[in-house]
């Protein structure tokens, strides 16, 4: 070995250790110029999901209301608090309820963790629905974002399933009767209904097997599916060109470059040639110094907004968790359902519908509703009115959507306030 490159002495190595470890973790210093701002997003695994630059429209709080981000942050809070709760929970019909009491009585931070988990779950259902409304009312499901809309609907269903499987675990009265009713509704599905009911319950009556099954769904199966779907949802946002924006939000490129913008695969691509990544990028090939665009660097603009939304979300969840305790009903009494036996608010619309017809309320109408939601971007193919709240071009679609939404809200209100013992109609005043 030659001595030309003198290796630094051990002392120097120790002295420079902190700096070197830092530099091996983060390849760039805090950015001071545009090149470094790009590298910051580009070279960090966690930031790499973001584009180097984002459109200014994306950062308008009044456009997105930050709802997608809030859903994601709530999910993160749910994962963290959920994992912590798993340290004390036992999915056993004889122990589950006692463990809930332990959380309340003898586990440090037990109450607040359970509260955070419960209120984040309620919040996530609400925020995911609001996010769906935002995307619909701004026409953002339209080409090329059709599939991401479909993924979004799947994420809504997964959120509801997560919530449902979750509130069964304390094995209180709500849990037992909700499993009884929920699996019975599944039993009304045509052809496979009875088999699904049997698989969910792991037997012919609701008991230990059912609790264990819902536990496994809640802590392993559904979170895995949900995480994967969220990852694809985010990845598609970038592949679909970022969040939607109105057509006039971008300056028109000069004529000689306009050709390839509309065509996802420019005709100049030749199937027999070898291409690098940049050869496949859509749109005008280069913008540098040519077009004044409406983008800003993700660092710091996007990251600071995200940090702000995260801190706000966490703060609200913490305050709610400190002020209000998560409900825990009486321990399971197989012989007496509470009267009236009510689901959490977001399922009360469903319960109200089910009280008219088990099949139509539990399978038929929700099935049609979800089917219509999934098909929305394939039925409404007019490219007009994207990126604008309540665009006049989308009056019909928005009206239909809001009608469905309002119907469900009315059912929820009826179920919450106007139903008394034996599900009889009562007036709350």
């Amino acid at each position: 070995m030659s001595k030309e490159t003198a290796s630094p002495s051990l002392l120097t190595a120790v002295k420079e250790l902190p700096g070197n470890v830092w530099k091996s973790l983060f390849r760039n210093p805090l950015p001071t110029n545009d090149l470094e701002r790009s590298s910051t997003s580009f070279t960090n695994f966690f930031l790499h999901i973001h584009p180097v630059k984002v459109h200014k429209n994306t950062l308008r709080p009044s456009y997105t209301l930050g709802l997608g981000l809030i859903s994601f942050f709530l999910f993160m809070i749910l994962v963290v608090t959920g994992i912590l709760l798993m340290f004390y929970y036992v999915p056993s019909t004889t122990q589950a309820y006692d463990r809930m009491l332990d959380l309340r009585g003898s586990v440090a931070f037990g109450t607040i963790l359970r509260n955070m988990h419960r209120w984040s779950a309620h919040g996530m259902v609400a925020v995911v629905v609001m996010h769906l409304c935002r995307v619909f009312l701004t026409g953002s499901y339209k080409k090329p974002r059709e599939f991401n809309w479909v993924l979004g609907v799947v994420l809504l269903l997964l959120t509801l399933l997560m919530s449902f499987t979750g509130y069964l675990l304390p094995w209180d009265q709500l849990a037992f009767w909700a499993i009884t009713v929920g699996t019975a509704i599944a039993g009304y599905a045509p052809i496979v209904g009875k088999d699904i009911q049997f698989l969910l319950m792991g037997g012919s009556t609701v008991g230990q097997e059912a609790l264990l099954r819902f536990y496994v769904l809640h802590v392993a199966v559904l979170p895995a599916v949900l995480t994967l779907s969220i990852a694809i949802h985010f990845w598609r946002i970038r592949k679909d060109g970022g969040l939607s924006r109105p057509a006039d939000a971008d300056p028109t490129p000069p004529m000689e470059m306009a050709g390839s913008a509309a065509d996802p695969r420019p005709s100049t691509l030749d199937g027999k040639k070898t291409y690098g990544l940049q050869g496949l990028v859509r749109g005008p090939l280069t913008k540098v110094n040519n077009i004044p665009d409406n983008t800003v660097f993700s660092w710091p603009n996007l990251f600071m907004s995200e940090l702000f939304v995260f801190v706000m979300t966490l703060a609200v969840v913490l305050v709610l968790a400190l002020l209000f305790n998560a409900p825990l009903e009486e321990p399971v009494n197989v012989m007496h359902p509470p009267n009236p036996a009510k689901a959490p608010w977001y399922f009360l619309g469903l319960q109200e519908m089910v009280s008219y017809s088990a099949f139509w309320g539990g399978i038929g109408v929700p099935g049609i509703f979800v089917g219509l939601l999934l098909l929305t971007p394939y039925l409404d193919r007019s490219p007009k009115g994207v990126g604008k709240w309540f665009s006049r071009d989308r009056l019909l679609a928005n009206t239909i959507f809001l009608t469905f939404l309002l119907a469900n809200v009315i059912f929820v209100i009826i179920g919450t306030f106007f139903r008394g013992p034996n599900w009889a109609f009562v007036t709350p005043w």
Binding site: V181, S204, S355, N422, W423
Partner: protein, 148 residues
Amino acid sequence: MAVSRRRMLAWITGTGLVGSGVLSAISNFVFIKPRATYGQPQRFSIGKPDDYPAGTRIALDARRICVVREGNRIAAVSTTCTHLGCIVGLADTGFACPCHGSRFDSDGTVTGGPAPRPLPWYKITLAPNGEIEVDKDTEITPGSYLTL
């Protein structure tokens, strides 16, 4: 047209891989479907006829039945709602479900709410030791009592 050896091998490989994938997916469902379940016994004794005086309706909640006695006739009516499986409570007019508002008269006939079928009546026999035996596996025509 003759299929080349390479194409045929590719086809067999592809079919094998997809087939194994489908089979393993199905086997998951076979795995999670229990072969044996451990439920409550469906035939059980509910005591002597003297425990149920004439004219009473006594709900045995643990068994999910209601014992009805009129004079010297006795019957067992299910208290599991035929709508979504909640347990119905005794009401002045018969039975009422607290979950979705199904209503039944004292014979179990639907009088309101979403229940699709009347409450089933179970076969009831007098065992040699003088106790009443209920068989929840056998449904009988509503209205058919056992005369003591």
